[in-house]
């Protein structure tokens, strides 16, 4: 039987990160991008918790994971608000067309 070790967690988190990154980079819809970011954050959380469990870091990892979750929630709230505003300004949420940063 395979013992679930740190490597498994890291692989999961890598996959999760990659999916999230993929979503952030490829999705045109801003909401999907946000969701990608959530995935990345969660991948990070998994890493935190995993290293906390297998490393001798005590509960710091868990604590930080909790912080991240809270932050993610807050971020999601603000980001959604921004997306709403973007929608109000540009009448869509397609990130390809919002290239004001260029100017």
């Amino acid at each position: 039987m395979i013992t679930v070790g740190l490597e498994h967690f890291l692989v999961i988190s890598s996959i999760l990160f990659s999916l999230g990154l993929y979503g952030v980079v490829t999705r045109k819809n801003a909401v999907m991008v946000l969701m990608g970011i959530e995935l990345i954050l969660n991948a990070a959380n998994i890493n935190f918790v995993a290293f906390s469990k297998y490393g001798n870091f005590g509960y710091d990892g868990q604590a930080i994971a909790l912080f991240v979750i809270v932050l993610a929630a807050a971020e999601a709230a603000i980001a959604l608000a921004i997306v709403l505003n973007i929608y109000k300004t540009f009448a869509n949420v397609n990130v390809d067309e919002i290239d004001k940063l260029k100017d």
């Binding site: 952030v24 290239d99 940063l101 260029k102 100017d103």
Partner: protein
């Protein structure tokens, strides 16, 4: 009668002609008759100078001096108190000169009234005569070299103005210019000579300079400088007295009105050079005197040879003047002080008479001057002929004339000089010239007055001159008779002129620098009281030379006259054939030894060429350098402009361009899309991870 009276009168004599000049010049236009003021003025001056001469010679044995400080430099470093003195000195020589100058000047004024009648600048002419007389008198009565130089130049000015009086003629203004410039050449020498004396003695006054010389102070402590000073001052005389090689101006000066030639270029101004030599006689060393004697001898010879062939009546007289001046200079150089001055006086009268006579002829012939067009005028103009003849006899040295006395003494002097020093060339030249003089003067008389008229038309119109023109001739020819100078017609020694009026002064140069015969006899105390410069030796030589010289000059003079008559009166000898038989010599003489041509080709052309060259140098080289540096500066600035534009600015622009380029390149990455950025971030992260991989 006091000395101050003489001085006051002498001052008046000096300044009255100047007053005449100023009055006539400024009021001449308004009052054309004002020239009479000038003539009357000159009469007054003449009377005053006769008075001065009588008073001076009669009552004052010593010289009368008045001087004042012209410039006071104060307490000069190195030298202490320095002043420049001007002043006048009346001694016997200058008193006699005063009368000579003023008499001739007055007579020329008289003559000019007739001669210049109808000239458009009639009054101006008299003004200039006044200016000339003033300047000449200044030379006569000065007691210092500076004033001598000042008036020396002023006579140069009046001579310039009068020679170029008819300045519409190019030849006249050329002649005036030439006279002034040639004289300046001599004046430079004279000026340097004066500078030598001043630099050593710190005074210009003759007496002070001589006193210091006598006490043994030599210029710069060297004998050579003393000789040089003498010769350099003599250069002034070379210019003014038209000595070879500066004689070229005098014949040209005949472009002036004839009375002017009589006054300035025959009697007075040209004699100023001889007068100067008489003034500096005591400071001449043996070497200097030899130079002077040779110059005089050469001059008299050259001029006489030229006079033989000239055809212009005034040119003949001009060269004869040069020749006679050469005589005087030669006499000074050979120590015959007395006879140099005596000849100066007698020559002044008879040469003035000759010139005025020629003026009378020219006037009568309507300004014809060529003797080939004259002839037979004896009948038309008996008075002119008589006076002219007397003067010609005088210049030829025929007994009973003044010329005989002075010329005889002068030639005796040169003979004695030749005897004592061995320089026989000088008397040989002297006697040769006596022969030639008699010949060419009688050639002139015969061609002009004897024979048949050659130009009948002009002859018909010829007439004897009026009183104002004839009177001066008579007076002057009368003065060419011996009786005014000595009771003995064959020797001047007994006369008052030679025995008591003028005495040879004692030389002041060191004994060993004098000719032997001029050294003071130490053994003879009697000589001291008589104040004679010459030794017994000289007196004896002079005495023994008297008769040989007299007979020789009489014989040669007679021969000359005979030859002239043979050739031109009796036509026994064909002069033309004779001339053709020695054509090169004839041409040489006719063309005045080509001296003018020589000067034109060398000195004048050289100077003008140098002037042109320097002008070229100035414009092309110096200004070239200036403009070149300006061009260079401009070039450099242009280059730096280019550098500025292309390099400095180029660098700036390149930076801008480069960043622009980079910007352009990288703006592609800057899509403004967060996602792209993110890709870059990650890509970069991966790259970085690969590069800095820990494993």
């Amino acid at each position: 009668m006091t000395e101050s009276l003489i001085i006051n009168i002498a001052t008046m004599i000096l300044f009255l002609p100047l007053l005449g000049f100023a009055v006539v010049l400024f009021f001449g236009k308004k009052y054309p008759k004002i020239y009479l003021f000038e003539v009357a003025d000159m009469l007054l001056v003449l009377l005053l100078s006769i008075f001065v001469m009588i008073a001076k010679i009669g009552y004052f044995p010593g010289s009368i001096v008045y001087s004042f400080n012209w410039i006071d430099f104060g307490n000069v470093p190195f030298f202490g108190n320095t002043v420049i003195e001007l002043g006048i000195e009346i001694d016997n020589v200058s008193a006699i000169m005063l009368v000579v100058v003023n008499l001739i000047s007055f007579l020329v004024h008289m003559f000019s009234i007739g001669y210049m009648k109808g000239d458009s600048r009639y009054t101006r002419y008299f003004a200039y005569l006044g200016l000339f007389t003033f300047s000449m008198l200044g030379i006569v009565i000065t007691h210092n070299l500076l004033m001598m130089y000042i008036f020396w130049e002023l006579v140069g000015l009046s001579s310039y103005l009068l020679i170029g009086f008819w300045y519409e003629k190019k030849s006249a203004s050329d002649a005036g210019k030439k006279a002034f410039l040639v004289n300046r050449v001599g004046d430079i020498g004279m000026f340097i000579g004066i500078l030598i004396l001043y630099a050593n003695y710190h005074t210009f006054t003759f007496a002070d300079i001589y006193a210091q010389m006598q006490s043994g102070i030599l210029p710069f402590g060297s004998e050579a400088w003393l000789t040089a000073a003498g010769i350099l001052i003599f250069m002034g005389a070379v210019g003014k007295s038209a000595q070879f090689p500066l004689h070229v101006w005098l014949p040209d000066a005949m472009e002036g009105p004839t009375p002017v030639s009589a006054l300035i270029h025959a009697a007075t101004m040209v004699a100023a050079g001889v007068y100067l030599l008489i003034k500096i006689f005591v400071m001449l060393t043996a070497d200097a005197m030899l130079v002077i004697a040779v110059t005089g001898a050469v001059t008299s010879f050259v001029a006489a040879t030229i006079a033989l062939t000239q055809n212009d009546i005034k040119k003949v007289l001009a060269y004869s003047t040069v020749s006679q001046l050469g005589y005087m200079v030669m006499a000074v150089g050979s120590g015959a002080y007395l006879f140099a001055f005596f000849h100066l006086v007698t020559h002044a009268f008879f040469k003035a008479c000759l010139f005025l006579g020629s003026g009378s002829v020219i006037h009568a012939m309507h300004h014809e001057q060529d003797i080939r067009a004259m002839g037979g005028l004896r009948k038309k103009m008996p008075l002119t002929y008589m006076t002219f003849l007397i003067s010609t006899l005088a210049i030829s040295g025929v007994p009973l004339t003044s010329g005989f006395l002075s010329k005889d003494g002068l030639l005796a002097g040169t003979l004695a000089f030749g005897n004592l020093t061995g320089h026989w060339l000088i008397p040989i030249f002297g006697f040769t010239v006596a022969l030639m003089t008699a010949f060419y003067m009688f050639r002139l008389v015969i061609k002009t007055f004897h024979g048949k008229p050659r130009d009948m038309h002009k002859y018909e119109h010829a007439h004897e001159s009026t009183f104002v023109m004839a009177m001066p001739l008579v007076v002057l020819s009368a003065l060419s008779i011996f009786i005014w100078y000595t009771p003995n017609p064959i020797s001047a020694d007994a006369g008052w002129f030679a025995s008591s009026w003028v005495q040879t002064p004692e030389s002041v140069v060191p004994q060993d620098l004098r000719f032997e015969f001029m050294q003071t006899d130490t053994h003879e105390t009697a000589a001291a009281e008589h104040h004679i410069t010459h030794s017994e030796m000289y007196t004896e030589a002079m005495h023994s030379a008297h008769y040989p010289a007299m007979f020789l000059s009489l014989g040669l003079g007679g021969l000359g006259i005979l030859l002239a008559f043979m050739m031109y009166q009796w036509k026994k000898i064909n002069s033309w054939k004779l001339a053709m038989s020695m054509k090169p010599l004839y041409n040489f003489s006719l063309n005045k030894w080509y001296i003018d041509e020589l000067y034109h080709a060398t000195v004048i052309a050289g100077t003008l060429g140098l002037a042109k060259m320097l002008t070229w140098f100035d414009q092309k080289i110096i200004d070239g350098i200036v403009n070149g540096s300006a061009w260079l500066a401009k070039f450099v600035s242009k280059m730096s402009d280019l550098f500025d534009t292309f390099v400095v600015d180029g660098l700036v622009n390149f930076t801008a361009f480069f960043s622009g380029f980079i910007g352009l390149t990288f703006r592609r990455f800057q899509t403004g899309k967060v996602q792209t950025y993110l890709v870059f971030v990650i890509f970069s992260l991966i790259v970085l991870l690969v590069i800095f991989r820990p494993f």
